[in-house]
Amino acid sequence: MAKQTTDQTGFSDVAAGVDAVIPARKQSWLQYYLPSILIFIFAIVTWELFVRLFSIQEFLLPAPSAIYNSLSLNLNQLLKLGWFTTKEALGGFAIGCSLGILVALATARWTIATEALMPFAIAANSVPILAFAPILNNWFGVDNPVSKMAIVAVIVFFPVMINTVRGLTLVDANALELMASYAANQYDVLFRLRVPNALPYIFNALKVAAALSMIGAIVSEYFGGNRSALGVYITQEAAQFRFANAWAAIILACIVGITLYLIVLTVERFAIPWHPSVRGEER
């Protein structure tokens, strides 16, 4: 009987198969993120159960529900603190990234200088720049957000600069020959070939920089800072054993970091829709 049915509906099975494929493509957003969402929910539930079942002390690990309570109780204050620190992160991000791109553009103009300076830039990139936080606090004043912006700027400068230089120089030899065959001047080569070629590299660096800038701002606040800063709040609450509050602030910082990253990702999709990394996701 079952066999007969499949025989009879042979054609409609094929049709159903096609139908099944098309709506699946429309739902691909949900399909794509569903596993991540499930894993997230699973992790939160496990965490909560773990803390309750084993009666874990709050100073070791507060339960998600406790963190949520703290978050909703102190939301207004946390948002104010978060905004203060986000402004530091954004300021440093803007200064560091623009300087990184500008310096890279300048060095593309003087190739020999680039080759001489790149080893130093790469070395500087592996220096733990946060170690300078106390010194920069001293230069600009602990309470002054500029000291934090300076640290963030220095942190994001090197990856952005190095990646931009890479994008400006790693150009297809044929593409350069095409320009040469038209006797193109160096500005045309720079702006019509090297810069578009560098954009994917720059966006990769900006994504890294977005995450780094929030980390940099908070950690530099651990070395002392304005009372209305998120990093200062985290250290204070932790020192007074109010760990749920500290965790709530950390969660907020994570959300801000991820948001900054997503903003860069969105700008990237509009700026370089032609790049395989962007157009590949559309399938």
Binding site: L178, A180, S181, Y182, A183, W274
Partner: protein, 259 residues
């Protein structure tokens, strides 16, 4: 009138003095007169692309001289005396098809509307009307190569340098493209240097076919194509056409044997 291209005793040695030293071209002599259509044919690696790049001043000879329009090749490049079709299509992936074709006009500072019109015209010529706003990755290899041809033609250069432009095309499209290229050459009295692996294509298009041999790359034979200057579908049915194709095949066989 000076020859459009004059290659005088040119040799090209890559990586001289190193373990991977290659004598890509040895003592090449070739004059190409205005209005000629010269095809270069020969086994892979015999230096065809290198020869074309020497004419375009994209590489320099190790010895000998290359003159274009009576000037050193370098000056001719600065004067933009030629249009080049590379062996790889070399389209910029961030530009649409139309914008790729417009690139040489942009470099010359030509206004937008004229650029767009000329690109449209050239794309129609290579049978790609309607693909203006596509991106290169949305086209097949043969279509990309035709965009590259449109780009080389768009500035209307008197000298065309083409490196296997129809390599990726199916037989029928290739014949139509040959007809179109012949038409352009005949109408505008351009000079063309054309690399191909197809003897039939070389004979159909050319006034002369240069046969090269490998290791070291050198010219082994030059075949005058004494067919009427105008070519069309009937050309491929002429007895003389068959004779010339056979002659070319024989010359290529000898070249591949290194004779």
């Amino acid at each position: 009138m000076p020859p459009t291209v004059s290659i005088q005793n040119v040799s090209k040695l890559f990586n001289p003095g190193q373990a991977n030293q290659v004598l890509a071209l040895k003592e090449i002599n070739l004059d190409i007169l205005p209005g000629e259509f010269v095809s270069i044919i020969g086994p892979s690696g015999c230096g065809k692309s290198t020869l074309l790049r020497l004419i375009g001043d994209l590489t320099t000879p190790s010895s000998g001289a290359v003159l274009v329009n009576g000037k050193p090749a370098h000056q001719a490049r600065l004067d933009q005396d030629y249009g080049m079709v590379f062996q790889a299509a070399t389209l910029y992936e961030w530009r649409t098809v139309s914008k790729n074709v417009q690139l040489p006009l942009e470099l010359k500072g030509i206004a937008k509307t004229e650029r767009e019109n000329r690109a449209k015209e050239m794309l129609a010529l290579v049978e790609l009307a309607g693909f203006e706003n596509h991106h290169p990755w949305q086209l097949s290899g043969g279509m990309q190569q035709r965009v590259a041809i449109a780009r080389a033609l768009v500035t209307g250069p008197q000298l065309l340098l083409m490196d296997e432009p129809f390599g990726a095309l199916d037989e029928m499209t290739r014949e139509r493209m040959n007809q179109e290229l012949h038409h352009i050459w005949e109408q505008t009295n351009k000079t063309a240097v054309f690399i191909t692996h197809s003897i039939a294509e070389a004979v159909f298009l050319s006034t002369r076919v240069v046969v090269m041999s490998v290791r070291p790359g050198r010219i082994t034979q030059v075949i005058d194509i004494d067919l009427p200057r105008h070519r069309d579908v009937t050309t491929r049915e002429m007895t003389r056409y068959f004779e010339l194709v056979n002659q070319g095949r024989e010359a290529l066989r000898r070249a591949e044997a290194g004779l």
